[in-house]
Amino acid sequence: MTMNDGSLVALVALGAFHGLNPGMGWLFAVARGLQERSRALVLQSLPAIAAGHAASVFLVAAVVTVTGSVLTSRIVSIGGGAVLVGFGLWRLLSSRHFRWVGMRLTLWQLACWSFLMSSAHGAGLMLLPVLTHGAVTVPGHSHGMASGAGSAVTAAIFVTGVHTLAMFVVAGTIAVIVYEVVGLAILRRAWFNLDRLWAAALIGAGAATLLIAV
């Protein structure tokens, strides 16, 4: 299998989408900066948030790629599609939201917050269709995923890296622009319910994965 341009674009787009979502971290970075009137604090917070996000995404990516190295891609697709639809429905229908008390966090705690927030959001789940159909391989390795768990993990790292880089760049750009220029009044107008959109996207992607696999 070879590197698929489409799946690379999808990876980047998903990362950018997570970066865009205020609930996934850039807003926390801005809040920390505003509290102490320190841009440095905004900038320090972003890598911690990205690290937590990456850990959450990597977990899913690793499970999918390693499973994919032992099971047929059809089984992974069906199982993964079902998980996506189920999780998406839950996100769409449940009014429960992520609950975390506390604003004064160390960077380590902030990374943990980001990990939990991303996981509750199902941030890594959207990689399922990308990984099962997109045939992501690490550039320079031509033997593909089927050759074993070792390269599967390498693929998971690559996928996580690309995704998180996109997330980090977008979140960082927005955080700095909001902190320096725009101000948080924009939240009242522009904070669209991305979580609902995300839930619908999960269901759609899951359904598509199932349809293609069956």
Binding site: P22, V30, A31, W100, V101, W113, L187, R188, N193, R196
Partner: protein, 489 residues
């Protein structure tokens, strides 16, 4: 159903909240002292351009009697925008209305018909007691992870009936219960470690600093049959502030204001989340009957409190006739304060404007609402005063100059833009009866707060407008100065 964009009544910062549009409706909790008729939420038209301005235009009876409505709050507020647990697409549409005497908590939906809120849920006292170990729910604040409700009593006390009076504290500790803000189920007691805290009343927080502040009144047996002179003179009512770690739910520090300062009630932290100070009102000093306002602040990691306002007692001289055959002069005082020969101001509520500039202080005993400029919180400067009601003065409302008024400015609510201040006149059933034994009456007033500070002559719902009930806290549609907390400066 979730919204696509944030509820328009949520503001990231107090700076933006002051630009909120003026409210058009006010919700006022009203209770029947005799407990024969249901308590109610009265809806008052506060739109000055409306023909029914200043009158009660809506009404919702509660399903039971004897609740004694007191304070209440919203299901969601600007804290929903906080970055740690954001949920900005919920709606501010439910009023959470505790019965201070019955321990029932009512959930009212104001969305479909704002003039006639519908009761969508009643949390029974057994649920509050069973899950959280509390009774007598009081203050409601919308937090990042749920609804926080303070409660004056524990679950296993003697029930506050006569006979338990004098055994102060036997029916505590009071504390804070957490309610799920979607299902409104009682989740449990908030405290992981309450330390020495036993008495409870109000609470609020410095949300971005993970600091909770709580105050002290008394347990149910200490208050429900009226103020107990023995307990008061024995300095048994609350006189301390408690500071907590909001995240770890642990008691961190007690700041004792001195046991002569009896009853530390309302807490008003600065709205600016980068500031770490706030104000607490003390009802009465047993040394000289004065009332006071304290400012808490943090210095070198420790919380401290300093008395920044003292309001002295007034001589019991009536400036106006107190009866048909009683000329101005020495006044009859109700038995509860007759031995002292003076009128205590009784600061029972304070409220801080959203821009943290003005602190409003109600003197329920002397019938006065004072405004202080607290731009420098260490040095408040009096910046206006209006007189209405009072134990001795009985100052009338300018709209009805021949009608002496009982009660005084009690609960204060300030509009988000800080221009309008609403007051109601009842304190707490049994206490009303002690300080205004000839009847506390029922009235609400509005004071325009700008360069001047004057009573609005067009706004005076009173008497039968409240259908025989006594008005307590006011909540303004869309939020007010004591309903929302902000995570961004």
């Amino acid at each position: 159903m979730a919204l696509w964009r944030p509820d328009p009544t949520f503001y990231p910062s107090p700076r933006e909240a002051v630009n909120a549009p003026p409210e058009t409706l006010a919700y006022i909790a009203a209770f029947d002292r005799s407990a024969r008729r249901p308590d109610a939420i009265a809806v008052v038209d506060v739109d000055p351009d409306s023909t029914s301005y200043g009158s009660v235009v809506g009404w919702t009876d509660l399903p039971h009697t004897g609740d004694e409505l007191h304070h209440f709050g919203w299901n969601a507020c600007s804290s929903a925008l906080c970055p740690n647990a954001p949920h900005p697409h919920v709606e501010r549409r439910y009023l959470v209305v505790p019965g201070l005497r019955s321990s029932r908590i009512h959930i009212l939906d104001v969305k479909d018909d704002p003039l006639k809120p519908s009761i969508v849920k009643v949390i029974e006292p057994e649920e509050l007691a069973g899950r959280a170990g509390y009774s007598r729910p009081h203050t409601v604040h919308c937090g990042p992870d749920g609804l926080y409700v303070s409660a004056l009593g524990g679950a296993n006390g003697p029930g506050g009936r006569s006979g338990s009076v004098g055994r102060e504290g036997s029916d505590g500790p009071g504390g804070i219960a957490v309610l799920d803000h979607d299902s409104f189920e009682v989740v449990g007691a908030w405290e992981a470690d309450r330390g020495p805290q036993h008495l409870a009343y109000d609470f609020w927080w410095h949300l971005t600093q993970d600091v909770m502040v709580t105050s002290e009144w008394g347990t149910p047996s200490m208050i429900e049959d009226g103020v107990n002179a023995e307990l008061l003179l024995g300095r048994k009512y609350g006189h301390a502030l408690h500071f907590w770690d909001l995240r770890k739910r642990r008691h961190v520090q007690t700041v004792d204001l001195g046991d002569e300062h009896q009853m530390v009630l309302e807490l008003r932290p600065a709205h600016d989340p980068t500031k770490t100070y706030g104000f607490a009102g003390v009802v009465v000093s047993v040394e000289d009957l004065s009332a006071s306002v304290w400012m808490w602040y943090r210095e070198d990691g420790e919380f401290k409190a300093r008395k920044v306002i003292t309001i002295p007692a007034e001589p019991a001289v009536s400036p106006r006739p107190t009866g048909p055959d009683r000329p101005p002069g020495a006044a009859d005082l109700p038995p509860v304060i007759a031995p002292f020969g003076a009128v205590p101001p009784l600061v029972t509520d304070i409220d801080l404007s959203v821009d943290d500039r003005y602190l409003y202080v109600s003197c329920w005993g002397t019938g006065e609402l004072k405004r202080y400029d607290v731009s420098d919180p260490f040095h408040p400067v009096e910046a206006g005063s209006v007189r209405i009601g009072g134990i001795v003065r009985r100052t009338p409302h300018p709209a009805a100059p021949d009608l002496p008024l009982a009660g005084g400015p009690q609960m204060v609510e300030v509009s988000r833009d800080g221009r309008r201040v609403y007051v109601t006149n009842s304190l707490y059933g049994s206490w009303d009866d002690q300080f205004y034994p000839d009847g506390v009456g029922a009235w609400a007033a509005k004071i325009d707060s700008g360069d001047g500070f004057t009573i609005d002559e067009r706004f005076f719902p009173h008497g039968d407008d409240f259908r025989g009930l006594r008005p307590h806290q006011t909540r303004l549609q869309g939020g007010d100065a004591s309903s929302d907390s902000y995570c961004y400066p």
